[in-house]
Symmetry: D2
Subunit: 91 residues, 4 copies
């Protein structure tokens, strides 16, 4: 049972919306829409994905990391979290 399962439906809804936005961008390219307008949509999807990433980290710290630490076995989880945060902010 992972952290994000608490809000599994919300996560799924957001991902479906993002899938729809990506298809919308494909249509814009198909119809030769103006590049700056397409870029604006690409930025919107990126923002949506970042928000999902933050939500995943949030759930992860609140559940997996917390439980492991409370049971005194958090070393691996802390390493994993640290490198996940580094990769997430490093792009």
């Amino acid at each position: 049972m992972y952290g994000y399962t608490l809000k599994k439906k919300e996560l799924q809804d957001r991902l479906r919306r993002i899938e729809g936005q990506v298809r919308g961008i494909q249509r814009m390219v198909e119809e030769d829409k103006y590049c700056i307008d397409i870029l604006t949509q690409v930025n919107a999807v990126t923002a949506g994905l970042k928000a999902i990433g933050v939500g995943l980290l949030d759930g992860h710290v609140r559940t997996c990391v917390r439980e492991s630490l409370e049971h005194g076995e958090g070393d691996e989880k802390v390493e994993e979290l640290v490198s996940a945060v580094a990769r997430f902010v490093g792009r």
Copy 2:
């Protein structure tokens, strides 16, 4: 005819791949996969979108901005490019 039309097919291919990745993430959530693994996939999609954004800016400068400036009428295009870059870098 916009800059990105030169590589329209490549753009479409990349967007389809991203759509597939987003559906893959939905499946991972559906199957309660580990949150850090899902985050890794979210990062991969974000990186793919960033590359698309750079490609769009590239085509835009090479065609729209260039042509407007060559005809001495680039003011609006320059404004637009600079504010697109500003939004893209998160300012």
Copy 3:
């Protein structure tokens, strides 16, 4: 005469402010201030630098790139701009 010389004084003022903020962060570290507060200051400096980067690109397109294109010798400038934009947004 480059684009940014138009606003040379403003650029210098901003850079001096950033230098002061970086020294402020050194003091915070020296005084063992709370890490999240230091991170907030680091973010503020990063935001200031991004704004400067956008300003430099703006001046560059408006002057160097524009003039080169108006004189029909813009190929090199366009390549340079495209790769500068790519590096700038890629971090």
Copy 4:
């Protein structure tokens, strides 16, 4: 005693280097250096600050967040971490 104090000297060294780079950029502007070269230096400083930010988050998770969670009182720390990451990734 915060996480970053473990590597306080390294942090200070990096910040001093960044301060020096910012002064170098001021000189470049003073001497009317080419805007693209200045932008390259601005990018270098931004990259240095990002690395510092990742290091601060790293130390924070390993110490403050970890200790609070081990003592079952991590709620506030988790909130704080997640919102710091969110601000850091530009959301």
